[in-house]
């Protein structure tokens, strides 16, 4: 019984690892600093960042529901 709850708690904590992804994706700049591929004339550097605002919100929501 005690063990079950500890394990469940541990498994829940693994979900938190998802929260690391936005850090890697946006703080490692060489990954997205370039102009290509462009989207409707908008350089990669810009649309990638806007995309990650949405993706990070989605990831946070996933963690929220998974650990609720």
């Amino acid at each position: 019984m005690e063990n079950g709850s500890v394990e469940r708690h541990g498994a829940r904590r693994l979900w938190y690892l998802l929260l690391l992804v936005p850090f890697i994706a946006t703080l490692w700049v060489p990954f997205y600093a370039g102009p290509d591929p462009k989207l409707g004339g908008i350089p990669f550097f810009y649309w990638y960042q806007f995309l990650w605002v949405i993706l990070s919100a989605v990831l946070t929501a996933v963690v929220y529901f998974a650990t609720k």
């Binding site: 019984m1 709850s5 929260l19 700049v29 409707g40 004339g41 963690v63 929220y64």
Partner: protein
């Protein structure tokens, strides 16, 4: 030249939120003679109000002026605001529900209250409080600069309009407490969203049709990105460049770690009614980050539209200048009201947060240990007036560069309270004296780094930027001074904690227990057994 149509729209909207500010005293009624009612709205705000409150609190008028100004003047580096406001929310998701829970449990109103309870150290709590107040004051002053710029864009100059705006702000903050900015934030955000959505459609159309294009929106964006010079459009890959990758990511990370150490951010968090509300908001607040990214683009739009830096405000003129050039008068008034009201919300919350720190951690701690709840609330209300008067004098008497320099330092300083507050949410391993010394060295080194950084093209000048050229192993690493100082701070805190714990230097008595930090109900044991 006075723009009377714009001014009328502006005044109508401004009057509307003034009325709202006073009505707010009756909203979700509580006894405003109690500090947690006046200063934290009774810790009763749910998901939606918290979303508006924190959105209004964090994305300030100054942000709306300064971020595009940086993009306008320096280019891509200004976009550090995007990774900054992306990575801040996973941090909020993890840390802030714990802070909320322990503060709720023990009736803490400020981060210093928590530090004092956790480490049993008057000095550490005092240092955290003073850092908070010191970092907040210039931030309030800069909100005034935001109002000044938009007033100037409507042809209004001089100090008196600013004084009137601040007297109004001070009055409803005094009467309604945190309820006033919470209610006004709803209007502010609606105005900002409308302004931004109109601008991201109308400005590209304007630019496209003025450059011989087809006058459609997508064509406008193509023109904007093709006309910005490549040196401004992209970062430098050199680690020694002030507009390089390293500068960009250290600014983003350092600012993200610092944001929720500001007293006004913590006040917004503590006003929510549960940890769940905070977690939900960590997923919902990025909507504002998206808007901030669009506002950053205004910097490039202004550049391509041919807006010239203004004599009095320099690059800060980018957004107002763009609005004046592109929009009809009445919509200028609308957009300027959005920015000015966007200054009132954070200025109000900041003054409340600073006042709470003073009342709880200086006044009650050192002067009136037996102050009643009522006396606490009265003191906080009065101090919120003083704080605003101080910010006003700051702007009227000193050149605006002082406020900008101080705010730059404020970011460096506030990050140095991170170890005491956030590490303390997880472990009691850090020793109070190690945290104090780490703080001291972080403050001193960060201030020094900002001081010795000259302004661009002006040798021997000071406080030129928050990007410090770190010389290490024959290389130059241009990075955010606050983060460098923070690394030093943390390293010292670790090493000294090891030593102090080893020699059993008294660590004081911890008021908190592990269970105080979780905001969720424990796993129901009976249900576990049944399944």
């Amino acid at each position: 030249m006075l723009n009377s149509t714009a001014l009328i729209v502006f005044i109508v909207l401004f009057a509307f939120v003034t009325v709202l500010g006073f009505i707010a005293a009756h909203w979700r009624r509580g006894d405003l003679n109690l500090l947690h009612e006046w200063g934290l709205g009774g810790r009763r705000f749910g998901t939606i109000v918290t979303w508006f409150l924190l959105g209004g609190d964090l994305y300030t008028a100054y942000t709306f002026i300064a971020v595009p100004a940086l993009v306008f003047g320096a280019g891509a580096i200004g976009f550090f605001a995007m990774p900054y406001t992306i990575v801040v929310y996973p941090l909020v998701f993890l840390f802030m529900p714990r802070l909320w829970a322990v503060c709720r449990k023990h009736g803490y109103v400020t981060p210093s209250d928590f530090v004092r309870g956790r480490y049993d150290s008057h000095l550490l709590a005092l240092l955290v409080a003073l850092t908070g107040i010191l970092a907040t004051m210039p931030y309030i002053a800069l909100q005034l600069v935001g109002i000044e710029v938009v007033l100037a864009a409507m042809g209004i100059t001089g100090d008196w309009p600013l004084i009137i705006a601040f007297v109004i702000l001070a009055a409803y903050t005094y009467f309604s407490g945190l309820r006033a900015p919470a209610l006004i934030a709803l209007v502010k955000d609606a105005l900002i969203y409308i302004t931004v959505i109109v601008a991201i459609i109308a400005v590209p159309i304007y630019i496209s049709s003025h450059t011989g294009g087809s006058g459609n929106v997508l064509d406008g964006y193509k023109v904007i990105f093709s006309k910005v010079p490549p040196a401004k459009l992209f970062l430098s890959s050199s680690s020694s460049s002030a507009v390089g990758y390293l500068a960009f990511s250290t600014l983003a990370l350092g600012s993200a770690l610092a944001l929720f150490m500001y007293p006004h951010s913590i006040t917004g968090v503590l006003a929510s009614n549960s940890g769940r509300v905070i977690r939900r908001n960590a997923a919902l607040l990025p909507a504002y980050s998206f808007i901030l990214g669009l506002i950053a683009l205004f910097g490039f739009m202004a550049l391509v539209a041919g807006v010239k830096p203004n004599k009095a405000f320099g690059a800060q003129w980018a957004v107002p200048g763009l609005f004046v050039q592109v929009f009809p008068s009445w919509f200028q008034g609308f957009g300027f009201a959005a920015i000015a009201i966007g200054a009132l919300v954070p200025a109000s919350i900041m003054s409340i947060a600073a006042a709470n720190l003073f009342t709880r951690n200086i006044y009650k701690e050192y002067f009136r240990p037996n102050a009643s709840d009522r006396e606490e609330a009265t003191t906080s209300k009065l101090v919120s007036l003083l704080v605003k008067a101080g910010a006003l004098l700051f702007i009227i008497l000193l050149p605006a560069t002082y406020a900008i320099n101080f705010q730059l330092l404020g970011g460096v300083w506030i990050l140095q309270t991170f170890p005491a507050i956030v590490f303390g949410l997880y472990t009691r391993w850090f020793h109070r004296w190690a945290l104090i010394i780490g703080w001291l060295v972080g403050m001193a080194s960060g201030t020094w780094m900002a001081y010795v950084t000259p302004q661009k093209g002006v040798p021997n000048s000071h406080f030129g930027s928050s990007t410090y050229m770190l010389h290490l192993f024959g290389h130059v690493f241009a990075g955010y001074a606050a983060l460098y100082a923070f690394i030093l701070n943390v390293a010292l805190a670790i090493v000294l904690s090891l030593v102090f714990n080893l020699v059993h230097l008294p660590a004081g008595k911890d008021q908190t227990a592990d269970a105080d930090f979780t905001d969720e109900a424990p796993v129901p044991v009976v249900a576990e057994a049944a399944s």
